[in-house]
């Protein structure tokens, strides 16, 4: 199957201070790299998971694909078309095909619009006035398991789970090919999280959707993704099929993340990697391997040389000088 989305060496930089201020302070490079040289490809119909701590650049990456933040270098090809240098106007048709779901279910709905207006807004934006808007809204609500009684409600009158369903319905409105879901389960309690994930899985089966799921929640990502990428300070440190990455992580960071997930079984023995310290500031990106400041296995080479991605198994890439060798104790 052809690649739906190909991202090559993507770089997103944010200005930290104005031109003048930078000149006065003698800062030669007043930028931070939120996303630095990220490459991946997604096939139609698959679910790709993006995992990382806060500030690792995963949300920025998702927004760059939709054109909400501008990328400085690299390439984003969607359905064979380069999107990176398109202006707002040229992006509009692309945005019909790439829908987004945002972190906060309630705050991502315009507070003064009713559910009906929220769901018909995408059609108005794209000038599709010939459609039966009420019918479309009814159909979308039906898809996510809500009914017409919600038409007149405002976002603040919805529960978190209901608002999330409305968000999903809105994302589906223009029959997109790709849905970028930024923390689809954030702020929902566990039972509702499950409902939302099952809903997303059902819609994927029924409508042949492709998901890019961004989250810091490892159990969620393990549940729904086919492949995952672990992000640290704007770079992918490990990419691979979900099962393999969880069973056999090569990067110490991946392993530490997996080990940090609470384990319901108290008797199970696990090898734990403890991470010390904080995530370094993007403004002071460590030299060499970004992770060396917190890596328990760091060596001299890690401080000076930036590791290049190397393939460990089929489709399983890691960016580390000394990939973990020994099979881990919690291999299941």
């Amino acid at each position: 199957m052809a690649e739906l989305l190909t991202v090559q060496d993507l770089v997103v930089r944010f200005r930290t201070m104005g031109l003048f201020k930078a000149l006065v302070r003698g800062v030669r490079d007043p930028f931070i790299d939120a996303v630095l040289g990220v490459s991946f490809a997604m096939k139609s119909g698959e679910t790709f998971g993006l995992v990382g701590e806060s500030g690792s650049g995963k949300t920025t990456l998702g927004r760059a694909i939709n054109g909400l933040v501008t990328a400085q270098a690299g390439s984003i090809r969607f359905d064979g078309q380069e999107v990176l240098d398109l202006g707002e106007k040229a992006l509009k048709p692309i945005r019909r095909d790439v829908a987004m779901m945002f972190q906060d279910p309630v705050a991502s709905l315009s507070p003064r619009l009713t559910v009906r207006s929220l769901l018909t807004e995408p059609f108005r934006i794209h000038g599709l006035h010939d459609r039966d808007l009420n019918g479309e809204a009814r159909r979308l609500l039906g898809l996510v398991g809500l009914n017409e009684s919600f038409f007149g409600r405002y976002p603040h009158e919805l529960s978190g789970g209901q608002a999330r369903r409305v968000g999903v319905a809105r994302a589906l409105s223009l029959s997109p090919k790709l849905i970028i879901a930024d923390e689809p389960t954030a702020g929902l309690d566990v039972s509702v999280q499950g409902e939302v994930l099952n809903l997303m899985a059902r819609l994927q089966r029924e409508l042949g959707l492709t998901y890019l799921v961004i989250t810091h929640n490892l159990p969620v990502i393990r549940h729904i993704s086919d492949r995952i990428a672990i992000m640290y300070l704007g770079r992918f440190v490990e990419t691979g099929p979900t099962g393999t990455v969880f069973r056999r992580p090569y990067h110490p960071y991946t392993k530490a993340l997996i080990a940090a997930v609470p384990e319901p079984d108290p008797d199970r023995r696990r090898e734990i990697i403890k991470l010390t310290g904080e995530v370094p500031s993007l403004a002071k990106r460590p030299k060499g391997c970004e992770f060396h400041t917190r890596c328990p296995f760091a060596q001299v080479k890690c401080r000076t040389e930036t590791p290049q991605p190397q393939q460990m198994a089929d489709g399983h890439w890691v960016r580390c000088h000394f990939p973990l060798a020994a099979p881990t104790a919690d291999a299941a």
């Binding site: 909400l68 707002e88 790439v98 705050a107 991502s108 507070p111 934006i125 794209h126």
Partner: protein, 297 residues
């Protein structure tokens, strides 16, 4: 209408909105000053609208025999130095005052809304440029600016309106800009942009309904300011041209003939005071109910 005035940004207001329109009306009726303001404002507006029915004489009709007369049954507020009925002139003067207020506030509110949203939502350089202009305009003392413009263009009702509009746009625009800035990076704006909404759609459908509430409250508190500026300029002879009646020119006549009769000053001053009090009380009551956080700085 007042049900839409509340502001989503403040949680108390959001909580209040759930009470619905009736609950808010009930709270309003418990505020005695607010009710007083509402009654005064209603009376003033009604008096201005029905001035031609209520006024016993035309505003320029002269009764030569009774000049500077004290109140009588024929002339309830007396007459001025030309023998014109003061009550009629006060009623017609109210028309001018409210017309100026309505025109100026709606125009400057509209322009301020658009400019403020553009400054807040648009690119950085546009924001900086607009802010520079707003602050430059705000730094003129209003009366001095008005005197200069009137000297150049000549006194007329339109000149007054132009001056008031120009000087009050920055106040509205600044409020709107701040609100827009705080909304700009909210997820719902990002969500609409990710669907492909352009700048005008985002501004008119998603930002405007969220900034208009506090603005309308501010506007109702600005009515007395505008009325006073009009009266002040007319008092100085720089506003409305005679024989058109204005509270300011009635006051000025009263000032000139204060040794002969006090009634002109009273007739010109009392409506000004009542208008100021009425709109201020009303505006403050609305603000307290819908938007406790907004304090006019």
């Amino acid at each position: 209408m007042p049900a839409q005035l509340s502001d989503t940004l403040t949680t108390p207001a959001a909580a209040l909105r759930r009470e619905g329109f009736l609950g808010q009306a009930q709270r309003f009726s418990r505020d005695p000053l607010g009710m007083l303001g509402l009654i005064l404002v209603t009376l003033i507006i009604l008096a201005a609208i029905f001035a031609d029915i209520l006024a016993p004489y035309g505003p320029a009709a002269i009764d030569v025999k009774a000049r500077l007369a004290a109140p009588t049954f024929e002339h309830p507020l007396g007459t001025d130095q030309l023998g014109r009925d003061v009550l009629s002139r006060v009623l017609y003067g109210g028309r001018i005052a409210l017309e100026v207020a309505l025109v100026c506030i709606s125009v400057s509110l509209g322009l301020g809304l658009v400019l403020g949203m553009l400054a807040g939502y648009g690119p950085r350089w546009l924001d900086n440029a607009l802010i520079l202009i707003f602050d430059a305009v705000r730094s003129f003392p209003v009366i001095m600016f008005a005197l200069a413009v009137v000297t150049l263009v000549g006194p007329s009702l339109e000149t007054i309106e132009l001056i008031i509009i120009v000087t009050s746009i920055p106040g509205y625009a600044r409020i709107v800009r701040t609100q827009t800035l705080s909304l700009k990076n909210n997820e719902f704006i990002l969500a609409e942009r990710s669907l492909g909404a352009g700048i005008w759609r985002v501004l008119s459908v998603h930002i405007m309904p969220n900034v208009i509430g506090p603005l309308l409250i501010l506007a109702s508190m600005d009515v007395p300011v505008v009325v006073t500026i009009e009266a002040g300029l007319s008092f100085l002879g720089l506003g409305v041209r005679p024989p058109t009646p204005s509270w300011g020119s009635i006051l000025n006549d009263g000032y000139a003939f204060i040794r002969n009769t006090p009634w002109l000053v009273i007739a010109g001053g009392v409506p000004l005071i009542l208008t100021t009090l009425g709109f201020t009380f009303l505006g403050e009551a609305l603000r307290d109910i819908f938007d406790p956080k907004l304090r006019k700085g």
